[in-house]
């Protein structure tokens, strides 16, 4: 089948396709799901995946999508509210339907998996059964750790000592009165250094390890991975493609993906599902179609088709013929 230059073979029919959605808190998972549901309902984007038939349980999706349409903040998914969203999908022009099971997983759950080195039985089952994985990354969290620069430190010491020499020539007023001054701010005891705990690990190490953990349950069975860099509008100023952005900002993760592509093929997408800051939507709030605020960047092409990552992970070959 060829739609929009995309060749797609779907998994065998009649079997629900499970997608494991991984992301730390505030990675944009729920916003993506809300906008995705809007696209399915509105059919505003030609050639995007279509809803085959309404599933019985829709309340959660309707609630988060209503907030998305109104430019309101969507509450983050917390542990007890985690749920599996089931959606019946159809590829445009095809009569084949399939059931997509996507857990609207709490980022909090993934943070706890990494930090406590424990996971729920549900996660283990899903990680072992999921043919596909979506990894959500938020650019605002991809900040490289700052190494203590001893050269800057030495320069600071030099400057400090210059000021100390200067101060030494001045006799403090209180000293003449025999009053002991409290230590100045910079002379006060240095704060106790922090002891390492897993929460201080770098963002990219956490993401790599979450992929490693989920992979460990999957074994050698192949899997497909869509990497979604959310809030892509924030990255626009950098002028990178999503692939290049990942290589520059999260090099360890980028290497991990490339070195494991024999068991887990992947594609990288830059996606802005929200469009802009909620408080400053600018001209986007005037959009006639709600989907006009969506931006999807993949392999040098820009579209509004938020279903592309899901189409990719559901495709058998994973090859996009462009």
């Amino acid at each position: 089948m060829n739609t929009s230059g995309v060749t797609l073979e779907v998994w065998e029919m009649g079997k629900p396709v499970k997608v494991l959605v991984i992301g730390l808190p505030r990675a944009g998972k729920t916003t993506y799901l809300a906008a995705f549901w809007h696209l399915l309902l509105s059919e505003e984007v030609v050639d995007a995946l279509r809803m085959a038939e309404l599933q019985p349980s829709r309340e959660h999706l309707n609630n988060i999508t209503a907030l998305w349409r109104q430019w309101k903040k969507i509450a983050r998914t917390t542990l007890p509210k985690e749920r599996v969203v089931t959606i019946n999908l159809r590829i445009p022009g095809s009569a084949d339907d399939y059931e997509l099971a996507v857990p609207d997983a709490s980022g909090e759950a993934f943070r706890r998996i990494f930090e406590t080195r424990r996971c729920s039985a549900d996660f283990e089952v899903l990680a072992s059964e999921a043919e596909a994985v979506m990894l959500f990354i938020h650019p605002s969290q991809a900040i490289p750790p700052q190494t203590i620069d001893v050269k800057v430190d030495a320069l600071a010491d030099l400057i400090d000592s210059a000021f100390d020499d200067h101060d030494a020539t001045d006799v403090p007023e209180n000293e003449t009165l025999g009053v002991t001054e409290p230590p100045k701010q910079d002379e006060a005891a240095e704060p106790e250094p922090l002891k390492f705990t897993p929460k201080y690990a770098t963002y990219q190490s956490k993401l790599v390890d979450l992929l490693q953990i989920s992979r460990s349950f999957r074994g050698t069975k192949p899997q497909k991975l869509a990497v979604v860099i959310s809030a892509w509008d924030l990255c626009a100023v950098e002028g990178f493609t999503p692939e290049k952005w990942l290589q520059e900002r999260l090099p360890l993760l980028h290497q991990y993906l490339n070195t494991n592509d024999d068991v887990c093929s992947f594609e990288i997408y830059g996606i802005s599902a929200q469009g802009a800051e909620l408080k400053t939507p600018g001209a986007l709030v005037d959009a006639i179609r709600a989907s006009d605020r969506i931006k999807v960047v993949h392999k040098g092409q820009e579209s509004k088709d938020l279903t592309l990552p899901i189409r990719y992970v559901l495709s058998k070959s994973g090859a996009f013929n462009e």
């Binding site: 917390t78 001893v150 705990t197």
Partner: protein
Amino acid sequence: MEDLSNLVCQQPGCPLSTSGTCLEGLDDPHTCPHVKEGPKTPQPPADDEEAIEESAALTSDWKPVGGGYELTVEEASWVTAEHEAKVIVLAGEPDSGKTTLLATIYELFSKGDVPEYSFAGTQTILAFERACFPSRTASGNQKPVTDRTRHMRPRFYHLSLREAGEKRNRKHLLVGDISGEVFQRASDNQAEAEKLSYLKRADVFVLMLDGDKIQSRTERQEVVQRASLIFRALLKAGMLTKDSRVQVLVSKFDCFDPDDANSKEFLAYLKHELESRYAKEFKSYVVSEIASRPANERVDFAYGVRELLKPWLSDRELTWDSSLPSRPDNLVLREADEYLWRHIGGLGNG
């Protein structure tokens, strides 16, 4: 290794709370008579109150995943059983820079600064992160430091790597970070040297010598004699043999003042002394210089560190050419060299 954060050791100086390792060298600190089980470490504050209240109940029945810290000998043996892996043992006096070297290797991969290899995974991600943390501003330290390794049993850091140009094959590297005290004991007491049987499995035995001490007029004689004693003790114990590949690493090379001719002369003397006495005892022997985290501008960050990986990961004789650029750029030549080695040397790298 499992989460031991709720264990409290009452023995002064025990690093259990900082490094997760028992001063008595017990693999399972629960069995140590000095250790008491305290309440579980409070969870880091969650971002919303609801999550805080419910998280404890929700995660109490969760199943353990890989610990993420250093591997024990047994855990490391699972890696060697499953994959072709190279085992490197880092030995040396306390504070000679063993953990800093490991932290720097991980930092290089984290920045994508190792063109010859790509990171393919690790079972010890938290151990690497913990080794790196004290040198990051987030730690609150004023100067970059590295927590010392104190455990008496070997602990291994793991890296899975893929060589540039390779499509599938991964190479596994297990680097044993052994407490400096272990080798101090081995040089003091032959019975201690005979306990170090895991050295026999090492593909490369690395003896790290503290460059800062070598350039110190008062400490350098002790360094060379201790190194010599360690070699003698391990040879006598049969832990190092004619089949051993041995590398002497002079760490903290940034400490050497290029204008200090006497230090240069001493370094040359040290190299000659060790080489003339021990090189013939081993299958291969090489001296290299590194500055994992230089404290001045004399050398670049990670000076000499990238160059360690290729010899560690291959079966070829150890070589070292300090004239090599820190970041070699002639990839074609290196691949050709690798090809020739595999086919002429007949030693596949797996």
